[in-house]
Subunit: 327 residues, 2 copies
């Protein structure tokens, strides 16, 4: 089996690559070759059980998507995107990459023809939803994005469904919740503090909490994100019918509940490293985000996330900190 | 006020033009100039109270959309589309006109800049919905089109909302129900019989009914379609918020109820001109269509349709038959 990962240099792309190298394949099939693609050079993994080629290009440029699918990969993970903040700041760039790039990829697959019909896993986002929300967002709630990024992801879902319906490929769209705890340095994403208030204190650093503790949000670990992708690549797509995109399961908790989980696992001294510093701008942004999903459909189709925020913290300590933290 | 109509040669475009010529304007403002555009030459109206220019081109070609908005029309009615059947038969043409053309128009408006912010009225369709449906489709039901045409319309709605949110124009999307009674000759649209079983018998012709009488569907008259467009062009858009597209009100009736209305208005001899000839292909297509809408939001915002199918028939007799029919 040959696979292609677009957006391989991003956090989820790297985690997926690591996991595939460890497992050697998925769904009972071995990977023989992987193409890792991104706009910046993806790290070529060491000691891979399969051959790997890395490609660096802008996949929205003419001919690039064709080049990526020319070797007819069996499974395509499309994780490439201009993120929310940048797509809002640079209107044309966001549409060029997130919409035109996605369509160029889908059309390149379509035009291979000759019976070629890969599995395409498309990472969408909960940004396809926009306030006002019901208490819990169900599987039939409509898409009313409030950002250009969310709009581009919603359009990607529609294209994925239509191209699948026409038989050009076999697509699955997964709407990722906020991935927590994100490894690495703090970044400037408005959602960054959800990870920061866990990650920094566990490493002996101070973290800033810019919102009130009653703010509620949905999370899944990086490990779950990779599990979602692999399940989407292997699942039976017949039960999806024409409805190809799914909100993923997640853990919905308030910030207060996040902090209590941290206290249970790491103690008061670690929790004391969280400093409250309300930021009206971030509070305003977070207010427009969905809080809770009823991901019944994804669960019934075998997608699994953590059951508690404690579990999410433990996974971070295990996967990123070698099982230890700064008490 | 200057207006632009894309798709001016179609049935709804012609009805809209006639009405605007009769009224001379809308929303308390006079029209000074109208640009009528279509892929085929739109009929230049006689005795117009405002100046009219007709333009014939493919608006998805580079430079064409820019040409259409160069004179900065205040209100743009975007009715142009490749219809459902053709968009399904010719995948690339459907996407080129319905998606790329719409985006080219929206981008041309965006790139005029300099404070230009027209009202844009976009005709969407109930084809944005796909089975399975609830008994009545509410305003928050999700879009799961089952045709490429419906996909392209749903994408148009998303773009309309995002471009409006960014302040490039002030958009309103209206999802038209089946327009009934369509004037003119029978056509090959799968929905054609809904009009045919009224129109042909009233003209002394035989009509074929290809589905069982318990089939239920939603209708509005051509006169209502024009009213929807004009209301969308003049309404206060503040209450729409970010949710710019609306299912229009309509009359939901079974075919049996359509026939009973015809009997009440025109008598048994007219009804006897309907010949039952079941067509499994048409029955299959019609099964996937939405039956009933709860168009509460559009109604609360002032959109009005007929209240009964009797009224729809009377409007046809009045507007198309000069008040007379073949008894």
């Amino acid at each position: 089996m040959q696979i292609l990962i677009l957006g391989a240099a991003g956090m989820v792309g790297r985690k997926l690559t690591e996991r595939l190298m460890k497992d050697g394949g998925f769904g009972g099939r071995s990977i023989t070759h992987a193409i890792l693609h991104d706009i910046v050079e993806p790290e070529a993994p060491q000691n891979s059980p399969f051959s790997v080629s890395t490609l660096t290009s802008d996949f929205s440029l003419p001919g690039e998507a064709e080049r990526l699918v020319a070797s007819r990969p069996d499974v395509i993970f499309h994780l490439a995107a201009i993120v929310s903040g940048e797509a809002e700041a640079d209107f044309e760039k966001g549409y060029r990459i997130n919409l035109d790039g996605t369509r160029a990829l889908f059309d390149a697959i379509r035009l291979v023809g000759d019976g070629y019909k890969p599995r395409v896993v498309f990472t969408s986002s909960i940004a396809v939803f926009g306030a006002p929300f019901p208490e819990s967002i169900g599987d039939e709630f409509f898409l009313t994005p409030l950002t250009s990024y969310g709009t581009q992801k919603a359009i990607g879902e529609l294209l994925l469904a239509d191209y699948s319906r026409r038989g050009f490929f076999d697509g699955v769209g997964i709407r990722l919740p906020t991935i927590c705890v994100r490894p690495g340095k703090p970044n400037k994403a408005a959602s960054g503090f959800f990870s920061g208030i866990i990650r920094e204190p566990l490493s002996g650093q101070e973290a800033v909490l810019p919102v009130p503790e009653d703010v509620c949000h949905s999370h899944a670990s990086p490990r779950s994100a990779v599990n979602f992708l692999i399940h989407a690549a292997t699942m039976d797509t017949a039960p999806l019918g024409a409805r190809r995109s799914l909100a993923m399961p997640s853990v919905s908790v308030s910030v207060a509940e996040q902090i209590e989980a941290l206290r249970r696992i790491a103690g008061d001294r670690v929790v004391a490293r969280i400093r409250r510093e309300p930021d009206p701008v971030i509070m305003g942004i977070v207010e427009g985000w969905p809080r809770r999903f009823d991901a019944r459909r994804a669960e019934s189709l075998g997608f699994k996330a953590e059951k508690s925020f404690d579990e999410i913290i433990r996974i971070h300590i295990e996967d990123e900190l070698g099982g230890r933290f700064e008490a």
